[in-house]
């Protein structure tokens, strides 16, 4: 993992992407800082952070578009995947490089509230800290999505546009979710679709009809079983599932200054899920 990590860190600064990212994020935050804090003499730096999460939409692709797409394009993936490194090590090495750059940006921005603290009579410290934690979690979640999308293509531009689109959908997920039907019928259809999709994926990777049917039957059994245990379990499930992808929705809770374990667990599992998917897509593509 370390060699990949070092290589990616190096590349960030030989190919400008690292500077570009740092420059953009610092200029943006500096701009909002001067508008929202300095000009109006306000010490609520958390508002600045809250306003800048939207810009992850195009900041994160700068960090992640290259990661896998470029290796595939230049066939250097052959070197990596035939080396003694595991796919997990490769994915983690790249993820942590992007993560590090993001954290560098985060640490530098901490200078803003630090400067503010010399002049403000009172600082909403707990809110700022809470918001920072949320801001970083949102950013890193977006990075995990960006890593995943970079795995899917060998074209940087497609990776960047795809990441932007995915993050955009995630950003609007709340609105989508609200407009989704919550009726029992819709919920059951949705659950059925999920079972069919799982069986389909299974068939696609094994090409074995019998085992796919068994998977589908097990899926139905689990669905029915869960319903018998708790007959409200599928109420509004579409909304709940979509909300799960709504990374931004939970951000606001941090802004109040409350660190909620369940939110942290949520973000960590979101990140782990996308890294896991990335690893699996790479393995799958090579193992068939």
């Amino acid at each position: 993992m370390i060699p990949i990590y070092k290589k990616e860190m190096r590349t960030y600064f030989t190919q400008m992407m690292g500077y570009l990212f740092l420059a953009f994020i610092l200029i943006l935050i500096g701009l909002f800082f001067s508008l929202m804090n300095l000009r109006v003499r306000d010490a609520n730096f958390q508002d600045v952070l809250g306003s800048t999460t939207l810009f992850f939409l195009f900041l994160v692709p700068i960090l992640t578009m290259r990661l896998f797409a470029e290796e595939a394009r230049h066939k250097t993936d052959q070197l990596l995947y035939t080396s003694p490194l595991s796919v997990t090590q490769i994915v983690l090495g790249k993820f942590f490089a992007a993560f590090t750059l993001f954290m560098v940006a985060a640490v530098i921005t901490m200078l803003f509230p630090f400067m503010l603290s010399f002049y403000a009579e009172s600082m909403p410290v707990s809110r700022i800290v809470g918001t920072y934690v949320g801001w970083i979690f949102v950013g890193v979640s977006c990075i995990a999505v960006g890593v995943f999308i970079s795995v899917l293509t060998d074209n940087q531009i497609v990776a960047a546009a795809g990441t932007f689109a995915a993050l955009f959908v995630m950003f609007l997920m709340d609105a989508f979710a609200i407009s989704m039907p919550t009726s029992a019928f819709a919920s059951i259809m949705f659950v059925a679709l999920v079972v069919v999709a799982i069986a389909g994926i299974w068939f696609n990777s094994t090409r074995n009809i019998l085992s796919s049917v068994i998977v589908a039957l097990i899926g139905v059994a689990v669905v029915v079983g869960l319903y018998l245990i708790n007959n409200q379990i599928y109420d509004g499930i579409i909304v709940r599932v979509l909300n799960w992808f709504s990374v931004y929705a939970r951000f606001n809770r941090f802004a109040v200054g409350v660190l909620n374990i369940s939110d942290i667990v949520y973000y960590v599992s979101f990140i782990v899920l996308f890294l896991y998917l990335s690893i699996n897509v790479i393995e799958k593509r090579r193992w068939r």
């Binding site: 370390i2 060699p3 990949i4 070092k6 290589k7 590349t11 030989t14 190919q15 230049h74 066939k75 250097t76 993936d77 052959q78 070197l79 990596l80 995947y81 035939t82 080396s83 003694p84 490194l85 595991s86 090579r286 193992w287 068939r288």
Partner: protein
């Protein structure tokens, strides 16, 4: 050292390779030979663990490439058809990165990299950005990369593609040098190359191994010894034919005008199978004062064996099937011999000393 069993790879409906079996012993240099799309790259990508086979196994030094992936891969150096280099790195940086991912110990690294750079002659390029290197040098960096960590097995996909003739010769020397320490597998479309460096040739066509033997034996299997000669004689056709009639031991198989004016190309064979016709031809021509400009055995060259085995008689390498003298329809009977390729052919026929070993083709059906 390497064992490949029933390897099959299916892309959609297309069988890129089909039930391939072979083994490679330690220290052997084996060449995969096959036309475009034969499945050479696919086989190598599977052997190195880059892609998975649809069915079948590969084991490297007893370790399965899928079950024991990390350990098996640690024993392989792979040079894919495109050198897997990062353009924005300097040669030294790149080789150090490769040493890192292969887990080469720091204490050994400096000497190892220096030795390898010397072997592939890129010492002068150490500080250059890889994107500024010429194609041939990038290829060498690709080879150096495969050698880092001194893996037991080195697999090279068309190592000489895109190189100039001088570099090709140099590259062959490097590959030959590898044979003493490593087990080497390389692929190529070029027969001279394979016969010049390899202990054994595996001819692959349409995803199957059609032959596997030493370069010499492959041609010996199908050759006719000194019983059948191609001869270029200076003189008039009628005079030559008349001279031949005096010697019933020689049978004139075919006659053709040669590219040199005033000369005739003939394919002559002995009346009986065990006759060495060379002396008789000499006597016949000498007596009639007809200078022999060229006489060579029509022993099948690897080119022809290749075309014969792959069943692709008339659409082979450039120049084939146009100027040739073709006698008979049975594939083995083919004696295509383009007169303008003699120099090249001679190169093939001076093969390297080969260690005594006989490895039978592993059950390609």
């Amino acid at each position: 050292m390497i064992e490949v069993r029933n390897l099959t790879k299916v892309y959609g409906q297309h069988r890129a390779i089909d039930q391939i079996n072979f083994t490679v012993d330690e220290g052997e240099i084996v060449g995969f030979l096959g036309p475009n799309g034969a499945g050479k790259t696919t086989t190598m990508n599977i052997m190195t663990g880059f892609i998975a086979a649809t069915s079948g196994d590969v084991s490297i030094g007893g370790l399965d490439i899928i079950a024991d992936a990390q350990k098996a891969k640690a024993q392989i150096g792979y040079m894919p058809d495109t050198p897997p280099v990062y353009g924005d790195m300097r040669v030294d940086e790149y080789l150090n990165f490769v040493a890192d991912i292969k887990g080469v110990k720091r204490s050994l690294r400096k000497d190892m990299l220096a030795t390898i750079k010397k072997q592939v002659r890129i010492e002068d390029m150490s500080r250059r950005l890889i994107k500024n290197l010429s194609r041939g040098y990038r290829q060498r960096v690709g080879l150096a990369q495969a050698m880092v960590g001194y893996p037991k097995v080195i697999i090279m996909d068309e190592p000489t593609i895109g190189l100039d003739p001088k570099q090709i010769i140099e590259m062959r020397e490097v590959v030959k040098g590898l044979g003493s320490k490593h087990t080497v597998i390389l692929s190529s479309h070029i027969l001279q190359e394979v016969s010049a460096v390899c202990d054994r040739v595996m001819i692959i066509n349409k995803g199957k191994i059609v032959a596997s033997d030493t370069p010499e034996r492959l041609s010996a299997n199908l050759n006719r010894g000194n019983n059948r000669m191609q001869v270029r004689v200076k003189g008039e056709k009628s005079k030559i034919l008349k001279a031949l009639q005096e010697y019933p031991l020689i049978r004139n198989v075919d006659t053709q005008t040669s590219p040199e004016t005033g000369t005739i190309d003939l394919i002559l064979s002995g009346e009986k199978d065990d006759i060495d016709v060379r002396e008789v031809i000499f006597k016949c021509m000498a007596k009639n004062n007809l200078p022999i400009l060229l006489m060579k055995s029509t022993e099948l060259t690897l080119e022809e064996i290749f075309l014969t085995l792959t069943g692709d008689v008339r659409s082979g390498p450039a120049g084939y099937g146009q100027a040739g003298i073709i006698s008979g329809d049975i594939p083995v009977e083919i004696n295509e011999e383009p007169a303008n390729e003699f120099e090249e052919v001679e190169e093939i026929e001076a093969p390297e000393a080969t260690p005594e070993e006989e490895t039978p083709v592993g059950g390609d059906e």
